[in-house]
Symmetry: C2
Subunit: 462 residues, 2 copies
């Protein structure tokens, strides 16, 4: 609980109308994409770095946890107040400060919605490529905090590759600018990239300086169907070997196809699908689309659709972005993992998942970003059925063990947060975790900023 004088100070710093203290007001901010719930002690909405600084100074003095929060779409519980404390909502800090066409950069506040920036950039011929499936609601600040990946990582990289600099506030209240306005910059340690993906545990982001690229002239989408996962992934590897890097290269397994077949045409014998987007100069894209068709034809594709009309194209990508929701046809609840393996190990990984699904008697649809090996593994269950819950908890470490065996990583884009904290030690050795703890301490001596995240402390109740 927060003492009364602190509540008054919160109101004094941001203004009474920007502080929520009653459980009914705060409920909205007690959950995120994980559907887990933790009620905070206060929710505040600062309007600028100065207010963030004052809030952190106060919290640091009083040793009260502060949890920065974007749109709350996180999939690992990074924005949940597991120890109570103050949720710092970045909603009001949502200005695009500038878009600079000559230098192809943009400075934004953290609360800007990713798709909003993409729309504004497009107006002047520029392109912000990172594309998490939640782009229409998630924020740039949240994307930076988690190092969001999404659908375009193979060709364009992830959030990390577009952040040139940050304005941050340290847990002790100091305001600091990091990075440069340019692609190059090697002055001192790379604080910018250290903050990216640190899940709000090292500093609060108050401005983000982004690199943009020229908007591609043309795009073309394709839907390609295979009898087996193996051949579809071989197709992916062949496409890349022909020097074609699609801007999007998604794959879906048989259970996913079953879930969407009412809304999208799926050939009866198909057990795997690639959804492809090519982008670039028009003539090149047309040429590449033909090549992709040829490559897939001679590598076992059973049906290939080069999509010609805009409506069909929109339908394809909407279906992809809604894939997560289609799964609820199978069971009322879902545990989503976002493992990654080197792309030539995808078939092995998927067939192991199929064997787990059989062994534990739960459907586990898999889809993901085939180009970069990032698989979304959806363990479907009924959480009210205690046996299924126990089985899921048994299954997850087995899944991660296989990921490590296949030279992969247990989180490609969701982060560690609380849901993966118990398993981080499977991937990162004790030495690494100790080093990370010392870095955390160097930033946050009193452990007030998003405490209980990343580092596993045992005994929690989710």
């Amino acid at each position: 609980m927060i003492p009364e004088h602190v509540k008054n100070e919160l109101k004094h710093i941001v203004g009474e109308e920007y502080v929520a203290l009653s459980p009914s007001e705060m409920k909205e901010f007690s959950s995120d994409g994980t559907k887990l719930e933790f009620l905070p002690d206060a929710v505040v909405f600062p309007e600028d770095a100065m207010q963030v600084s004052k809030l952190l100074e106060l919290a640091n003095k009083e040793k009260i946890p502060v949890i920065p929060r974007g749109a709350g779409t996180g999939m690992s519980g990074g924005a949940l107040p597991v120890r109570g404390g103050i949720i710092m909502g970045m909603d009001r800090m949502n200005r695009i400060i500038y878009l600079d066409r000559d230098n192809m950069i943009s400075k934004v506040e953290p609360g800007v919605i990713t798709e909003e920036l993409q729309k504004e950039a497009k107006k002047i011929g520029l392109f912000y490529p990172p594309y998490p499936a939640s782009a229409n609601i998630s924020t740039i600040g949240g994307n930076v905090a988690e190092c969001a990946g999404g659908l375009r990582a193979l060709k364009y990289g992830v959030t990390r590759d577009y952040v040139l600099g940050l304005k941050i506030v340290l847990p002790t209240g100091e305001i600091l600018e990091t990075g440069t306005k340019t692609v190059k910059g090697v002055v001192g340690y790379d604080l910018t990239r250290l903050i990216i993906g640190s899940e709000g545990t090292l500093a609060v982001i108050t401005e983000v300086l982004l690199r943009l690229v020229p908007a591609p002239e043309y795009k073309k989408s394709m839907a390609i169907f295979f009898k087996e996962i193996e051949t579809s992934i071989k197709g992916v590897i062949k496409i890349l070997q022909f020097r074609i890097i699609p801007s999007i290269l998604e794959f879906l397994d048989d259970i996913c196809l079953d879930c969407i077949k009412e809304d999208l045409y799926i050939p009866a014998s198909a057990n795997s699908m690639l959804m492809i987007e090519l982008d670039g100069p028009r003539s090149l894209v047309m040429e590449e689309a033909k090549k992709v068709k040829k490559i897939c034809q001679s590598n076992g594709a059973i049906y290939i659709d080069i999509i010609e009309n805009e409506q069909e194209e929109k339908k394809l990508w909407e279906t992809r972005n809604q894939l997560s929701h289609y799964m609820y046809k199978l069971r009322p609840h879902k545990i989503s993992e976002d493992i990654v393996v080197p792309r030539n190990n995808i078939p092995k990984m998927v067939s192991y998942i199929k064997s787990l699904s059989k062994e534990y008697g739960m459907p586990i649809p898999v889809f993901g970003h085939a180009g970069d090996g990032n698989l979304h593994v959806n363990i479907m269950l009924n959480k009210d059925n205690n046996i299924e819950l126990i089985r899921a908890k048994e299954l997850i470490p087995k899944l991660f063990k296989k990921v490590i065996e296949l030279h992969g990583t247990i989180s490609g884009e969701h982060g560690i947060g609380i849901t993966k904290a118990p398993y981080m030690g499977m991937e990162v050795p004790r030495t690494g975790i100790e080093l990370m703890r010392r870095i955390k301490k160097a930033f946050d001596p009193n452990d007030i900023l998003n405490p209980g995240k990343i580092f596993w402390e045992g005994g929690s109740s989710w």
Copy 2:
């Protein structure tokens, strides 16, 4: 000085033949690209991570500085033993451990020469894009330690963008693997990118896991001449606005042109030149070359050469890579700065440099990577002429002040080392430097790894 028992232990760890202790043997390792000289107390050549670990454990116990060293091409003194101690030469650790075509990755030891990796990758249709002008002698380990940039940064990014993971040895001797084999990976803090560009002060790199891309099908080089810097940079911005991102986009000022005119055709009225390389699918490159020609013609170019023969092309890029050496026609010594400004501020920056040159009476040729705003500023002087030396020392902080004013950075790719350490405070506020010091402490409690670098301590003698 190192005590006798430590010398014996060094020999015991790496073998007698891999320890140099006499001044004559050690002289070769006492200098780098800066031409400054500091004699170490010992030079050792470990053969694997285990030996590196034992050496660091010993040095940490005895509190002796250890300075990791690649090819010694560094331009900021990062590999100089300013406090004496042990130079750790990575020469023997020069294996390409594997090249994996399906996953487009490679694992190498730090002593691999950058160009060697490029050649081997090309054999299987892959491409490692980072291209410092020293690529034929500098090593991957050194490139990672400094976050080398070079000629291809605008289109392809810098070293940081290709390093997926590292094997490192901490100053306290622990061996640690960081990162992932995949583009995506967000497990804990980004230790990989924290090490990149940390100039050998946080850990010794013993393996580097690199991302590769498909080798471009075709390349085309162009030489384009302008009457003024302003129009050449306007040309650059126009090219980008037409969605053309050259793989190389270099610019040279009038003094540079004067230095190379005996070896390369330079039109008499030219005062600025662009050297361009386009890469990609053949048909696209041909189309883009024509477009670039048209854009530059209608933006004031006085002569455009689309290079048609291989020999001419080789000559062009050799001249570019040797540019630094051509400068010695002007004066016997050179101080090289590698400032960066947002690209639309290049003309302002260059004209300020011209005014400094006039004011101080020293020639200052400027060339650089126009696309990413990275300028190589070459202060030409005779160091035996004390007045010129004093003038150069006066001029440098003025140069950096202007860089900061124009929203730039004082080092794009050379690093801070010792030569820029006195000026880092002009760009990074005290809060940032303090934070970096705490991070250094988290890695290296006894300050044994490359001490005296990055952080300015005053009173040095170079």
